[in-house]
């Protein structure tokens, strides 16, 4: 860029942008701060920002009273399991569409995308019935499969766009050298595809972790992940701000950190390559 920016202008930009950024981030910051307060400090008027008696008590109480670890474990299994299963199914599919395209490849990709548009509530009862029939209601395996299915189109699309960026000449060269299909995938493609696969995994763990339709409707006590755990604070526990905050902070912290690493992939993953 040839334009020179004055220091004054840059200072104004910086101040303004930081103010807006902090305003948007404030609810999260406030939640984190409140989680370290006593219940009395949490509702104090005027509100206390930094000068209060910092305590870890709420975290202990939340874990003790509601067995937070069990919900966390369910979230990890469901988000991790559905992503892993999805990746295993998606890699071969995306690979074949990217490197052995046929006339129908585009139609298949578009059709896969269209399954993502199905509103969940439209098939709520059938899923409920299927889950009862299969004995999947309130089980982790059931949710792993449903979340894998709803995110599979995104996984395939993301992998497809990443695989497309791998130059075909490299594959041809490997083939000329007599590489078999298996060694071509294993030793040539996979190493180049690792960054793409990693960011696909990252984004899908985030999406599955935060999914709050199926996890609320198809679980009760055993398989409930953190989304459902927090929903149990609807009332009247939600009025205990410090405990609500501690529970919320624990539920969002891991994904917030992962999310910051995946901001670039977010655009690619959620726009299906429509914005680059």
């Amino acid at each position: 860029m040839a334009r020179s920016i004055t220091t004054k202008r840059k200072t104004i930009n910086t101040a303004f942008a930081w103010a807006v950024g902090l305003l948007i981030f404030f609810p999260i910051l406030w939640t984190i701060l409140t989680s370290f307060k006593t219940e009395a400090d949490a509702i104090a008027f005027p509100p206390k920002f930094l000068f209060f008696d910092w305590t870890l008590e709420n975290y202990a109480v939340v874990q003790e009273r509601s067995d937070y670890m069990r919900f966390l474990w369910n979230s990890i299994i469901i988000a991790g399991g559905s992503t892993l299963l999805g990746i295993i199914i998606a890699i071969p599919a995306a690979w074949s569409m990217a490197f052995v395209p046929s006339r129908r490849t585009k139609d298949i990709l578009m059709w896969m995308l269209s399954t993502k548009m199905l509103p969940a509530v439209g098939v709520l009862y059938p899923m409920y019935l299927i889950f009862i029939k299969l004995g999947w209601l309130d089980t982790r395996i059931g949710l792993v499969i449903v979340l894998m299915l709803i995110n599979l189109p995104i996984i395939i699309w993301m992998l497809y766009t990443y695989f497309k960026e791998i130059p075909g000449e490299i594959l041809e060269a490997a083939r000329m050298d007599g590489a078999s299909l298996k060694s071509e995938i294993l030793y040539v493609l996979t190493p180049m595809a690792v960054p793409g696969i990693a960011s696909t995994i990252l984004l899908n763990v985030i999406l599955a972790w935060n999914e709050a339709f199926w996890t609320l409707n198809l679980t009760a006590a055993n398989a409930a992940p953190l989304t459902a755990f927090i929903a149990s604070y609807s009332s009247p526990e939600g009025l205990f701000y410090a405990k609500l905050s501690a529970a919320s902070t624990m539920a969002i912290a891991p994904i917030l950190i992962m999310g910051w690493f995946s901001q670039k992939q977010l655009v690619r993953g959620l726009t299906f390559g429509a914005v680059k």
Binding site: P27, P119, A212, L216, M258, A274
Partner: protein
């Protein structure tokens, strides 16, 4: 060149994904269609036979239908307007040179990663509550009467929460689009003496047009089916019952599966109308 052997291999490798998605799409969809034509009340006698189009007629003629359509429209349109307008402004701001750009970006994007049940409850209790919420504190500080936001202004509250969640998404996509803008074009306009407003209106806005369309379409699909934000805040009370929530209540709470399924079919049709436009844009991009 793809050989015949690799074509066969490609088909086999695609099969699991295609079969799974086909099953996922067709099985529940056909069941919903089937139920929508039945008089099906699991707790009051089960399947009471063929109902024709009764469920479809009853769903749209029930007194809850039009308010639900209005509620859905208000929430979707309200959120779209706020996120797109603020998203463009925010993206322009973040594109400016500044210190600590990366950190500001992280702050702005953060709400998108907060799970819907958390953002719903944190906003409802810690900000919008009329006794101890921060908004009530501020109101008392300036001498106004605290408002019970969730009851007196449910749409404002829900739109606020949902916009907070989706503003990062809009901003991030629009920022990506702005950064792909050819800066020479802008410089040429600047040298030619085009004022700032005109440069914004005639160069940046048209360039952003497609990104804005994509934001609107994708958000519409997600916003039409917001659920958890309402589930943990108003639970559909105070006029905030959306179409999605109405169908949920018909199916799981009042266990009128036939009626709920007819509503589900309407929701699927509605989502597909939006989806067709989105798919067209995505499809065009795939060709280039």
């Amino acid at each position: 060149m793809a050989t015949k052997a690799s074509r066969t291999a490609a088909r086999i490798m695609m099969a699991p994904a295609v079969i799974l998605l086909l099953g996922w799409m067709l099985v529940p969809l056909i069941m919903t269609l089937w139920f929508s034509f039945r008089n099906y009340l699991p707790l009051r006698g089960g399947d009471l036979g063929f109902a024709g189009f009764d469920n479809y007629v009853r769903f749209v003629t029930s007194s809850a239908f039009w308010p639900a359509v209005m509620a859905t429209m208000i929430i979707v349109v309200g959120t779209l307007v706020i996120t797109v307008v603020l998203g463009v402004l925010l993206a322009l701001l973040l594109d400016q040179p500044m210190w600590g750009q990366g950190i500001v970006r992280i702050l702005v994007i953060a709400p998108f990663f907060v799970m819907p049940t958390v953002s719903g409850l944190v906003w409802k209790n810690m900000f919008l509550d009329s006794v101890n919420g921060l908004f009530a504190h501020i109101a008392r500080f300036i001498g106004a009467t605290p408002v019970e936001w969730m009851i007196e202004a449910p749409f404002f509250s829900i739109i606020l929460i949902v916009s907070w969640q989706w503003l990062p998404f809009a901003t991030l996509i629009l920022l990506t689009a702005i950064q792909s803008l050819d800066s020479e074009q802008l410089e040429a306009a600047e040298i030619d003496g085009a004022p700032k407003i005109k440069r914004f209106w005639y160069i940046i806005v048209p360039h952003l047009g497609r990104a804005i369309t994509v934001v609107i379409l994708i958000q519409t699909i997600f916003l039409l089916s917001i659920f958890a934000e309402i589930y943990v805040t108003t639970a559909g009370a105070f006029g905030s019952k959306t179409l999605t929530y109405l169908i949920f209540q018909r199916v799981l709470e009042s266990q009128n599966v036939g009626l709920g399924s007819a509503g589900g079919v309407y929701a699927i049709i509605l989502a597909n109308i939006v989806a067709i436009f989105l798919m067209r844009i995505v499809g065009k991009n795939l060709d280039s």
